[in-house]
């Protein structure tokens, strides 16, 4: 393979997947927060109803 500009090509590929990966991590963090909030509200309703 022609190695001219290989470094910048590498930066491009890394940047592309870093952006997607950062988004996947943010989705996972949001999911965890949402489930915790769901549990909290569910418990609050159970306490109020009892």
């Amino acid at each position: 393979m022609d190695t001219r500009n290989f470094t910048y090509m590498f930066y491009g590929f890394v940047a592309a997947w870093a952006i997607v990966l950062a988004y996947v991590v943010s989705i996972a963090a949001r999911e965890s927060r949402l489930r915790k909030e769901l549990d909290r509200v569910r418990k609050m309703i159970e306490n109020r109803e009892n």
Binding site: R4, N5, F6, Y8, G12, A15, V24, L38
Partner: protein, 227 residues
């Protein structure tokens, strides 16, 4: 069913991406003038097409929400837009890196680049608007209207390289009568597009699951206030 689809899409996307990376790096011939950097096109273009198709789906879902008032369509629009904004960012960043080598500059205010940046800003604004409004039906209505108007810019992005003389290259793909790539060099781009579309579909399904949890949470909060 949704969980199985997420796993299936992710697995097929991963397999395709590994195969494509092997083809792009090990099998494709070099481009005579650009050296290795031309290979960025295999991520730059599929990311652009994935985001534009996503914005189209979001526009259709937004219109369906305005017609039916069904919040599920709003969830689809929100999920698809968010994922499409990520792929639009991939397109902008990889294009900028390519431009640094080929043009000697990171950025230029030509019609294609500017309209794509405006597109990204419009849809980022859509996501910010959604965060700013708490009431679900008002949030859905306003963001649906914005999504439909913002899609006008997607058409401008798509056609800009035909309407204006841009520094950005003109059409190269055979579907746009570009003919700028040899058939053997073009096919990995379409396979990579399929892989990226499957990654995007998995992410959209994940986000839709979260939107479902959010709707459930909103309903429980209303119930909690009522008792």
């Amino acid at each position: 069913m949704r969980e199985k689809l997420i796993y299936l899409f992710s697995a097929v996307a991963m397999a395709l991406l590994v195969w494509d990376l092997y083809r792009i790096f090990m099998m494709l011939p070099d481009e005579a003038n650009q050296g290795a950097i031309y290979r960025i096109i295999y991520f730059h273009v599929p990311a652009a097409i994935t985001s534009m198709v996503g914005f189209f789906v979001a526009m259709v879902a937004s219109a369906l929400y305005l017609i039916s008032k069904n919040l599920r369509f709003d969830s689809v629009a929100a999920a698809v837009t968010e994922v499409s904004v990520v792929f639009a960012a991939v397109n902008l960043v990889t294009g900028s890196i390519w431009g640094r080598i080929i043009w000697g500059i990171w950025w230029t205010w030509d019609a294609r680049l500017t309209s794509m940046l405006v597109c990204w800003l419009l849809y980022a604004g859509y996501l910010m608007l959604r965060r700013a409004i708490d009431e679900p039906t008002q949030r859905a209505r306003l963001s649906a209207v914005l999504s439909i108007f913002a899609f006008v810019d997607v058409i401008i992005v798509w056609k800009s390289i035909e309407w204006w003389r841009t520094q950005h290259p003109g059409p190269v793909l055979s579907i746009r009568n570009g003919g700028g790539m040899a058939p053997g060099m073009e096919s990995p781009l379409w396979w990579n597009l399929l892989a990226m579309a499957l990654v995007a579909a998995s992410l959209v399904l994940l986000r839709m699951r979260q939107e479902g949890i959010r709707r459930e949470l909103d309903a429980m909060r209303r119930h909690a206030h009522a008792i």
